[in-house]
Amino acid sequence: MTLGFYPGCSLKGSSREYAESVLAVVKAFNIQIQEIDDWNCCGATAAHSLNKELSLALPARVLSLAEKQGLKEIVVPCAACYARLSMTQHELLKNPELKTRIAEINNLEYNGTVSILNVIQMLDRYVTPNLESRVVKPFGHKVACYYGCYLVRPHEILNFDRVEEPLSMDTLMAKTGATPIDWAFKTECCGASLSISRTSSVGRLSGKIVGDASDRGAEAIIVACPMCQSNLDMRRKEINSYLGKRIDIPVLYITQAIGLAIGLDRKALGLQRHFVKVKV
């Protein structure tokens, strides 16, 4: 079966390395993957605070296209895209009238036959079973797995992992040879889309996260969301100024960490693209 791939906007721009590392790992495990043709923005986060129909129509179009292209399963690495697509599926399947209305807007039929996977679910399904045997360079570091807001919430709809204290990334990282730390900021907000508009807020919010990870001896922060990554990485200057000290812990996508552990080329994983130098 071919796995569908919905990169979303971030993975084509500021988070190219996320796309690169996802595809590199997928390739290394011989998984058939196909990018959804003619995909569009999921609408996050602006659409759902402005126009409900638009906020449903955008993700619904992506899902309809995937259906039309014969895909049964798609991986959505961006946590925000994942949340929006999942919410849309939930809302439309619950409400047939709305489903019809959205199908009219998009002029595309939607049946809800595609299952949506976040990157961890995808890894768990296709990579984890063979991961340990493929590790050539154990990721022997203390890591803080950071889940952010979108990956696990709202729990009633996503039904993924434990909502208050998720564990799936920790388990996965342990298989690469890493030592996940027990810390308190796994699901705190990084400031997300305030990155541009209120950088100081991001400095404070992300600062607490990076600060706690550092205090507890983490050598790397592992993420699965492009916004989390860019805030913790790109806004390190603001973070450091909030904390009043310099912290050099790098922020890696989970696919980059896995890539390193199975011996993929650092460049193929896009590690050179980070602001905080990745020395692990």
Binding site: R162, W183, A184
Partner: protein, 666 residues
């Protein structure tokens, strides 16, 4: 041939103002089988009743129809009058001319016609009525009380003091329940054990009470007044008759590091143990799951040291069967443990404890002898945070209800802390303060105003450890949801009160209803708070919903009064309006074909299988039988039976059929 007397009441002018009563009497008087038909101003008055009695005697009436108010009002009155005149009371029926006719319609032809129709209908019904005798059931005047907490203790003592036998069973080695674990009690701050232990001793010494500790209900059979219960007495591995309770065994037992249930895991106990010093009975039991001899086959040190030679390693569980007439359920509740809270680290931090654990810390008989010391390192906490509504009123946690006791005990905890740790800082995060009760709100105000407890209205989102401190993150909603962070040394969660483990299975065993949270359901939320929907089984205390001590005790006394009332008679008299499965002559025996679909339809499990046997004891047929002790007379089975083999007395097929026929045809 039926001889029916019809008595039309004017009810002053309540009926006669809109219904032509004389005309009703006249028309009805002409119907077949009506021997006398008259109207009178007040049928329920003495002269009115005398009219009926006189007619019964003089005319030899076989049935009586009183057309007046609702039968829900005066049916007992008129049935009693008929009985006094020698007519079977169930041959008397009422037509509802007041509530269902004169009061709801305007004066006129149609209203009088309706009155005539209503009376005619009931006349036709009475023609098909049968004499019925009240059901008499003998009563076994022994009560079973399940659960030896304060509710069970109170219920046992009240029943025993009214002169009846009580069997009290408790699953733990000692009675006392949660109340024995408490330090002080709100709102008076008197010592819990000081008021409880005398009651415990009284139970043990009461001549009317048989106490079985370490015992559970195995099975139950029968019905009100006539239950048969089997009790499993778990093996204590000691001979209680010989044991003097000297306690030497518990000091010698080498297996010492087992978390003590009584101390909520904050202290240890040995494998052979008495749960706490004031236990009743004050004799040890061997915990087979922990004892080195039982797990590894070697040790027997207690046996060696026992001066009375009372240790019995070969003792087995014993099942005893006893007849009882009533049952009081007082199985109490449980609290959620800290591992229920992922946001507070799944209870992994030793200094995040439950309210019940705090009780043990504050108790003079507790592991710290009443000093508030935190479990991790024994330090006296300088800052302590109490979190009310930990789990309660939280839809996401599946506990939308209020646990009711936490507001009060949290105030008490904070107060005790302030009294014991001078200069200590205490915070209470709360959603609302629910302190309804005598002297309750005053108590909370005292905590806030006199003892300086800081109340913060808001919820705690996360507790985590950092640099040896517990960081409590929350919001103060009275300051516009301003984020609050407190660095605490200890956190006490007022965890939700929930139904006891196994409550659902026990309820199913007893055929008692339970609510979605597995608390036992009362028969009526307002008017039958201690009854269950199974006659003869009553509720006391927190097994019905979270309850504080005064409420539990009041409920227990209420349940005891119900039991005493039941036991005040030698026989139970019940209305005979119950279902009956027909019996016919051999070889048919009954038209019942034995499909037993009625069994699953009966809300009361009142339908049994009866094997009809010949003289040789061979089963000829298996048919349904209604247990008159359990049947409440709803008739659900009657409408369901395909062969029309079940009928319900008072509302038989013939009775209701003839009513419907008469309604539309005169």
């Amino acid at each position: 041939m039926a001889k029916i007397g019809v008595f039309i009441c004017h009810c002053g002018e309540n009926i006669s103002a809109t219904v032509d009563c004389a005309k009703v009497a006249e028309v009805v008087g002409k119907y077949d089988g009506v021997a006398i038909s008259l109207d009178y101003k007040y049928m329920c008055s003495d002269p009115g009743q005398n009219l009926i009695k006189k007619a019964i005697v003089e005319k030899g009436l076989t049935g009586v129809v009183v057309a007046s108010c609702s039968p829900r009002m005066h049916e007992p009155t008129f049935r009693k009058a008929c009985a006094e005149a020698g007519l079977n009371p169930y041959m008397c029926e009422m037509a509802n001319l007041r509530e269902h006719c004169s009061w709801v319609h305007e004066k006129g032809e149609a209203t009088t016609q309706k009155a005539i129709d209503l009376v005619r209908t009931i006349v036709e019904k009475v023609k098909h009525n049968q004499s019925l005798d009240a059901i008499k059931v003998p009563v076994t005047k022994t009560a079973l009380v399940i659960g030896g907490g304060i509710a069970g203790i109170q219920a046992s003592l009240d029943i025993a003091n009214s002169g009846h036998k009580v069997i009290l069973i408790e699953k733990d080695p000692s009675i006392g329940g949660h109340m024995s674990q408490l330090s002080e009690t709100f709102p008076t701050l008197d010592c819990s054990q000081c008021i409880l232990t005398p009651r415990m001793v009284e139970v043990a010494q009461h001549p009317n009470i048989t106490l079985y500790t370490y015992a559970e209900l195995e099975s139950i059979d029968g019905f009100i007044g006539n239950f048969k219960v089997k009790i499993r007495k778990k093996a204590k591995s000691i001979d209680e008759k010989i044991c003097t309770g000297c306690g030497l065994c518990t000091t010698k037992c080498p297996n010492k590091k087992n978390p003590s249930e009584f101390n909520e895991g904050l202290g240890n106990r040995t494998a052979i143990y008495v749960p706490f010093p004031q236990a009743v009975p004050n004799k040890p039991v061997i915990d087979k799951a922990l004892c080195t001899y039982y797990t590894k086959g070697k040790c027997k040190i207690c046996e060696k040291f026992c001066p009375a030679h009372a240790i019995r390693f070969d003792q087995e569980d014993e099942i005893i069967e006893v007849p009882v007439g009533a049952i009081v359920l007082a199985t109490g509740f449980a609290v959620k443990k800290t591992d229920f809270f992922p946001e507070y680290g799944y209870g992994r931090h030793p200094d995040i404890i439950t309210g019940l654990q705090f009780e043990r810390l504050a108790s003079a008989s507790g592991p710290t002898l009443g000093e508030i010391r935190r479990p991790s390192d024994g330090k006296i906490p300088e800052t302590i945070v109490f979190v009310a509504c930990a789990g309660s009123r939280d839809e996401a946690k599946g506990i939308p209800y209020c646990s009711k006791i936490c507001c009060m005990y949290t105030a008490k905890h904070a107060m005790l802390y302030q009294h014991k740790v001078h200069g200590g800082k205490s915070y209470v995060f709360y959603m609302d303060i629910r302190a309804g009760g005598k002297m309750y709100d005053e108590f909370v105000r005292r905590a806030i105003e006199e003892d300086g407890v800081n109340y913060i209205r808001g919820r705690v989102s996360r507790v985590y450890e950092k640099n040896g401190k517990l960081i409590v993150k929350g919001a103060d909603t009275l300051l516009g949801a301003m984020p609050v962070e407190i660095e605490a040394d200890m956190v006490v969660l007022a965890t939700a009160g929930v139904a006891n483990e196994g409550a659902e299975e026990l309820a199913q065993k007893l055929h008692v209803s339970y609510d979605p949270y597995h608390f036992f359901a009362e028969a009526h939320p307002k008017l039958k708070p201690v009854e269950t929907n199974t006659a003869g089984i009553f509720l006391a205390g927190a097994c019905q919903a979270p309850r504080d001590i005064p409420e539990s005790v009041a409920m227990a006394s209420g349940a005891a009064a119900k039991v005493a009332g039941l036991f005040s008679q030698d026989e139970l008299t019940r209305e005979p309006l119950i279902a009956v499965v027909n019996r016919q002559a051999p070889p048919v025996f009954s038209s019942c074909v034995g499909c037993f679909l009625c069994m699953s339809a009966c809300p009361y499990h009142a339908i049994e299988k009866e094997e009809i046997k010949n003289r040789q004891g061979e089963v000829l047929k298996t048919v349904a039988k209604v247990n008159p002790g359990l049947c409440q007379g709803c008739g659900t089975c009657v409408a369901f039976c395909r062969t029309k083999s079940i009928d319900i007395q008072g509302y038989t097929h013939e009775e209701v059929y003839s009513e419907v026929m008469a309604l539309l045809n005169d």
